[in-house]
Amino acid sequence: MILKAITIEDTKGLLGMLPTLHAGVPDRIFIATDNARCPKCDVYVKEGDEVKIGQVIGMRHAAFFDQPIHSTVSGKFVGYEKHYHRSGKLVNFMVLENDHKDEWDPSLQPRSDEEIAKLTRKDFSEILMQNASVGLGGSSFPTYVKFNTDAKIDTILINGIECEPYITADHRLMLEHPEEIIAGIMLLQQAFNCKKAKLCVKSKYKDLKEVYTDFLKRYPDSGIELCQVGNFYPQGWEIAMIKSATGISVPSGHLPSEFGIADFNVSTVVGIYQAIKFNRPVIERYISITGDGIKYPSNFVVRVGTPLKEMLERCGGYKNPDVDKVFILGGPMMGAALPSDDCIITKTVTSVIVLNEEKHEENPCIRCGSCMMSCPAKLQPKLIMDAVKAMDKAKIKELQPLRCIECGLCSYVCTSHIRVTDIVRRAKVIAKLP
């Protein structure tokens, strides 16, 4: 089929209407010592130590930043266990036993409105660094880095698009907690000294439009407006969103702040609000557990560090247990498939998707051109594939595979079911060679 992929079939309709359930806190909580961005880690507590919610129990070290590790439960630190991380690697997890008292670390005091009004951009950066605020849309990029710029910001864009199929966590968050999101956006306006803020949502979500047009009437001078953007995939990609919402096209290799734009995910905005207002790190997050391999797909608010197996039991377990499954953390287009369901919900897990496996036979490429038409980064996947097969390094470099955002559309549309994205990933590795 010679056709540009614009939308991806999904099952959001029903799940987006289901209310979010509070999952409660399990008896044992697991906190990752290192993650994809931070390879090294120091731990500040010994086995048997009492910990409180929000207490700093360790420090992750990465190339250019340090990230404190917070406890998300009050209880006792008992040791280490190996589990699967979101990235698909086996990682050391700290095991915390829950005492079900839910006591916060007494040093974390909420800020009064006067204190907040005095904060500058630098203070924001400092607070967010202490609270280990990261991009909760899935990138886990440290948020404070976005505050470290001196550039003049004209527009704040809030990404509530959630363009990946199946996921509804952000959608539910926006429906259920508009006041926290608006308060978070106002803090951002203060930090960047910028009046204009746009909340970007897909135009097909009529319920979000109703909620926010009504809700924003309470803040007539806030400068926040609802911005309805396209329904296509990958509309949630930073650069596609900026293009749709403001008309500015950011060339690859440049930061949006150079064009006067700061952009945040809605979950991140709520995280920022909690960090600034209550001085609390993120201890809970919205996730959707869905897919055609799950009995009762649901949305949950879970404590960070909950083992996934417990959540799967709450969803009624697997449907058709004899069929092989693909177990995905994150969206079905960009998320990683894990070899086991023994994994832990970290801050950046947006969803768990279990799909029944579909076998596709790989056929030779017939040059239909769908991948070239669909590529949002305007790359040429078919030619990259040819160059990788021929191991032609000069040609690969000329085709600039490093601009690829790995959205997965080229594999999705391929008429011959070739895993084009894998081949482009290989091209990226080759292009990085000297």
Partner: protein
């Protein structure tokens, strides 16, 4: 239950190469039905001969490609065939059937010694599939459209022996036209070096346009019935099995050139009806058939969008120039082959972006302008346009 480890993305469009090739076969079916109605057993003979030549060649190719690799021990032929046969898929069968059907349609139904048609069909088909497709590496790797290669091979070898008999369906009364498509018949009493058929096209019958549309003219069997071809075109485009860009740019630019050439013809020969001339050019020969079934083969097309427009324009230019001034009466097949040859060049990675830049538009308009210039100058300075 196991968890499958695979890289993202985990979703795939419900689509396959078999669906695309099957769609081409379905789009060909109105034409196939017409050929059976018009030619009966002769058409069946053509299809069977083409299948006999083309399908086994593809099977043998798959078996040779997938025989057991050398591992020190000797394997019997049976074992080799067994492992190779596992790699023979539905897509191989469908693609060779598409080639066979198109090839049979562009061949004549009879030759002067009756047995020669079998040889022409068999060796034409074999040459087409082997030299046009398999030597390049099979489906997806060929440079040329195999059906066109086979057709031209047969035509260059046995062309003067072709016969286009009239059947009950044709009411024109022209008993037998030998030697080529209807265009050649008109070219016969021409002056050397002068465009032959422009002024004479209306001698074919009293209402040439209607006859051409309904396929009531002798010729190769698939190209005749234009309504069936148009049904196939609509189906292909609705099912997205063919790229509309190529069809539109080819037919559009062909019409433009012929419309401009028509002005000169009308000025020089006042008896010619302008609209009939343009319609005759569009409906005669293989223009529609070639544009719908042969030019749209995605394997031999350029892969980027602007390149596809350029590809159609180039093919249309060559068709027009061969038709108006060439030594052959019909230019569609040659133009498709020549445009096929250019598609790797159009795909050159440094130019081959999806974006429509000014430079690319300039190239497309340059090709258009050059063609129009050649057509206009030649027609203006030709000593006489037609008899």
């Amino acid at each position: 239950m196991q968890f499958i480890k695979e890289s993202s993305p985990h979703l795939h469009r419900k689509d396959s190469i078999n669906r695309m090739l099957g769609d081409v076969l379905i789009a060909l079916s109105p034409v196939i039905i017409f050929t059976f109605i018009s030619y009966g057993v002769l058409a069946l003979r053509n299809y069977l001969m083409a299948i006999v030549a083309i399908v086994p060649a593809e099977i043998i190719y798959v078996l040779i490609r997938n025989k057991i690799p050398y591992d020190g021990t000797k394997h019997s032929l049976k074992e080799h065939i067994k492992t190779g046969w596992k790699k023979y898929q539905l897509s191989n069968l469908l693609s060779s059937l598409v080639t066979a059907a198109i090839f049979a349609m562009v061949m004549p139904v009879a030759t002067e010694p009756g047995w020669l048609i079998y040889i022409a069909l068999f060796f034409g088909g074999l040459f087409g599939i082997v030299i046009g497709k398999l030597v390049f590496g099979g489906t997806g790797s060929n440079i040329f459209n195999p059906a066109v290669v086979g057709m031209l091979f047969a035509k260059l070898c046995f062309g003067s022996r072709y016969i286009y008999p009239s059947t009950w369906y044709m009411e024109t009364g022209n008993a037998v036209l030998a030697g080529g498509t209807p265009l050649t018949a008109l070219a016969e009493n021409s002056h050397a070096g002068v465009n032959s058929f422009i002024g004479q096209f209306s001698n074919l019958s009293a209402s040439p346009i209607l006859d051409l549309l309904l396929g009531r003219v002798p010729g190769v069997m698939g190209e005749a019935f234009k309504i069936a071809i148009l049904i196939g075109l609509v189906y292909l485009i609705v099912r997205r099995a063919a790229d509309w860009r190529v069809v539109v740019s080819y037919l559009g630019f062909f019409t433009v050139v012929m419309a401009i050439a028509g002005i000169f013809v009308v000025v020089k020969i006042p008896s010619v009806n302008y609209f009939e001339f343009v319609a005759f050019q569009l409906l005669s020969g293989g223009v529609l058939f070639g544009a719908v079934y042969m030019l749209t083969d995605p394997v031999t097309m350029p892969i980027n969008e602007p390149g596809r427009y350029l590809y159609g324009v180039i093919a249309a230019s060559i068709t027009c120039i061969i038709r108006l001034f060439g030594a052959f009466p019909e230019g569609v097949a040659f133009s498709i082959l020549l445009a096929n040859m250019l598609s790797p060049l159009i795909d050159y990675p440094r130019w081959g972006n999806q974006a429509f830049t000014k430079k690319k538009a300039l190239v497309i308009f340059g090709v258009m302008a050059a063609t129009l210039l050649i057509v206009c100058l030649t027609l203006v300075f030709a000593p006489e346009v037609a008899a």
